[in-house]
């Protein structure tokens, strides 16, 4: 690997051997950056090179890779980074994205990627300051969940959160290798999906603490003027003004339930009470906060003025948590949802996977597939918030029935549930659905969930604008957005593959420059910064020139490498599918009552997606594109 930066602002890749307590450094080769950028993209390069698929996900020689984007910490709303590995939950690619302050502050230390491998002899905390990495004894922190951990660290290391101190850490759930555990990156922000907390716990790393003053980067060209252009574009966008800055993502609950697309009781139903509409959170919303240098501040804080314990106030909930701990588990009290949200943030849970795993257990309980003998007395009746609260604490400690739910999608494989339970598991590629939206109506959403490389997840490729009539009713505008015609009807299969392809490319680039998904073009608005703005600012910051179309190709390459990784892990076309429930059971409410996914139509849509994406019959990169990817991956040339 190169031993010097390949472009202005490039940070080092640090390889940290936890067993030997050794650190080596290098820099991502330029050709890799040209093909995959940094952040999520370069993470895939490293995982592809270091993955030994003959091992298992929690083996210490399977690395855990953190990576910040090319523009992370430099551009407004670009505060994100990814954590990548082989998922211990899904068994396929694990790739998680988070913001808050860690991804930016690690770059302030001259580091773009951190690659952890080997198992530490004892619990270890990595301390990063002035670009140097020190191994610290983490014994005093073992057993601490997120609130206590974040209370302890500033006193021990000095510094102030969000000013000169940032951290990623696991909780007891991660220490106990709970497969739905997250790596926390803030009070709520976390690297979620696929069990990253378990992976970090398996390496015996409790936390990475980063210190250092924020600083300006020495860029290839002046960039602050264009930063102001980007910031203004963000703030002028209607979705930011009218939704993200005011209430945050819970806004979406109301349209989803009105549409009849709100995953309810493990997707047996698709609508739920108006008592969870965002306006009912308003009395408890004590403010809004945000990530490093983001002008949007979309994260709602909550305070229920309950002082009985520490869970009366906190950070969130986001729409995902509202859905997963509201309708999907049958809860109709907003106070219960907020409390469970605050508990999850403390216990370090991925609320998507955790809420889904609990909903799955509750449906099994409803159907008598499991009973109180299995649950050790817990009454998993829908809406029983007290039982869910107990279950969360049991999960964190892998105690009692919590040990079963802690194995997430793998609960059958681990012997906790009978095989019949798999029929009701709402997962793709071994990962529970990320978002609460039931996608039997919106076929582009459904395809996206089926082909997402990390499993059933909306943040990889969601054609969100499919739910907007203004765009659906303007075919010429829609054609410009997606590079070709896409049916206006949300429940049509026609050409939805094209839209998913364009979104997947754009979002992969967004992750690799470090931009937040909420403020990336196509996800929430056609007016937000997209490939054009990314190309301009990448040129200003790094001196690397990309045409807009070349950046789209980079996004395509990232998806391609992810599919190569998944191919090595046994993923085939048969895995690009959806839960049987969506094929077999029509929804029963609303104007789209009767909608489900038609298997033949879905298969045709998937084939079109493969063709547009340059994939072979098994979903693997084909032809000359594959050869080019292989050259990049093998040689960094």
């Amino acid at each position: 690997m190169p031993q010097a930066p390949q472009y202005p602002t490039q940070g080092a890749t640090v390889f940290i051997d936890l067993e030997r307590r050794e650190v080596q450094r290098g820099y991502t080769p330029l050709q890799v950056v040209r093909s995959l950028l940094a952040g999520r993209g370069a993470n895939m390069f490293y995982l592809h090179r270091l993955l030994d698929e003959s091992l298992s996900p929690l083996h210490p020689d399977i690395p855990l890779i953190f990576g910040s984007g090319v523009l992370t910490g430099i551009v407004p709303s670009a505060a994100r980074g990814n954590a990548t590995s082989w998922s211990p939950e899904s068994g396929v690619l694990m790739d998680c994205n988070a913001g808050d302050y860690f991804p930016s502050f690690i770059r302030m230390n001259g580091i773009d990627h951190v690659i952890l491998y080997g198992r530490a002899a004892s619990w270890t905390l990595l301390h990063v300051k002035n670009g140097e990495i020190a191994f610290r004894d983490a014994t005093p922190y073992v057993g601490l969940d997120n609130i206590d951990m974040r209370a302890r660290v500033p006193g021990d290391f000095g510094g102030t959160w969000a000013r000169d101190l940032a951290m990623v850490n696991i909780t007891r759930a991660g220490e106990n290798q709970v497969l739905t555990s997250a790596i926390m990156g803030g009070p709520k922000a976390c690297y979620a999906r696929g069990g990253p907390g378990a992976k970090m716990g398996s390496l015996k790393v409790k936390a990475i603490v980063v210190q250092g003053q924020t600083r300006d980067f020495e860029t290839a060209q002046p960039y602050k003027g264009y930063n102001r252009t980007i910031a203004q574009k963000l703030l002028d966008t209607s979705v930011v003004k009218h939704a993200l800055k005011t209430m945050g993502t819970p806004f979406l609950y109301r349209p989803s339930r009105m549409l009849g697309a709100m995953g309810t009781k493990n997707n047996q139903l698709t609508t739920w009470t108006d008592k969870l509409d965002a306006e009912h959170i308003t009395p408890y919303r004590s403010g809004m906060t945000g990530c490093f240098r983001c002008p949007v501040n979309c994260r709602p804080l909550n305070d229920m003025k309950v002082t009985a314990d520490r869970y009366g106030a906190g950070d969130g909930p986001e729409y995902v948590t509202l859905g997963k701990f509201g309708p999907n588990v049958g809860i109709d009290r907003i106070e219960s949802v907020i409390r469970l949200n605050n508990i999850c943030n403390d216990l370090g849970f991925d609320t998507a996977s955790t809420g889904s795993a609990i909903a799955w257990a509750m449906e099994l309980y409803q159907r008598g597939i499991i009973n109180k003998t299995h649950t050790q007395g817990l009454d998993l009746t829908w809406g029983n918030a007290e039982a869910i609260e107990q279950l969360l604490f049991l999960m964190a400690g892998r105690e009692g029935f919590g040990n079963a739910v802690a194995d997430g999608t793998r609960a059958v494989e681990k012997g906790h549930y009978p095989a019949e339970a798999l029929k009701y598991r709402m997962a793709v590629k071994g990962l529970m659905q990320s978002d609460p939206h039931d996608a039997r109506i919106l076929k582009a959403f459904a395809l996206g969930l089926a082909v997402a490389t990390r499993g059933m997840d909306h943040l990889r490729n969601r054609v969100t604008l499919e739910i907007n009539a203004r765009i659906n009713d303007d075919p010429a505008f829609k054609e410009r957005l997606y590079g070709g015609p896409v049916s206006a009807a949300p429940n049509s299969y026609q050409d939805k593959a094209r839209a998913v392809r364009v979104c997947e490319n754009t979002y992969a680039v967004g992750d690799s420059v470090g931009m937040c998904r909420f403020t990336t073009k196509l996800f929430n608005s056609p007016s937000l910064p997209g490939l054009e703005e990314f190309a301009n600012q990448v040129a200003n910051v790094t001196g690397l020139q990309f045409q807009e179309s070349e950046l789209s190709d980079v996004g395509h390459n990232i998806m391609g490498v992810e599919r190569l990784i998944n191919g090595r892990l046994g993923v085939t076309r048969a895995d690009d599918t959806l839960p049987d429930r969506w094929f077999d059971e029509p929804i029963t409410v609303g104007q789209y009552a009767g909608e489900k996914i038609d298997r033949a139509e879905f298969d045709r849509m998937l084939s079109q997606f493969y063709e547009i994406s340059g994939l072979d019959g098994n979903g693997q990169p084909a032809g000359a594109w594959r050869t080019r990817l292989a050259a990049t991956l093998d040689n960094g040339q």
């Binding site: 979705v239 939704a243 993200l244 979406l252 549409l259 909306h458 969100t464 203004r470 659906n472 949300p490």
Partner: protein, 83 residues
């Protein structure tokens, strides 16, 4: 009369509802009428954050063609994705 329910960020004064007397045959005509009552409303629509729902039925396409009748309630709903 057609009742229009506005999101907080589009409210005119303290009220979250507007009422339109007379004949508004479609959502398209309602948008024109709203642009008079809320200056710049059409421009806001161009950023595509707002959907219309008529009597709790979300309109995902052919929204402007949707016929309206006396007594309908139209709600304007900011629509975003989640995370």
């Amino acid at each position: 009369m057609i009742k229009v329910v506005l999101p907080a960020t589009l409210r005119v004064g303290a009220s979250d509802t507007l009422e339109f007397e007379g004949s508004l045959a479609s959502i398209a005509e309602l948008i024109d009428a709203l642009d008079v009552r809320i200056p710049g409303f059409k421009d806001q629509l161009d950023d595509s954050v707002f959907n219309f729902a008529v009597n709790d039925e979300m309109l995902l396409h052919r929204a402007r063609e949707r016929r309206l009748a006396d007594g309908d309630t139209v709600e304007i709903i900011p629509t975003i994705s989640g995370g």
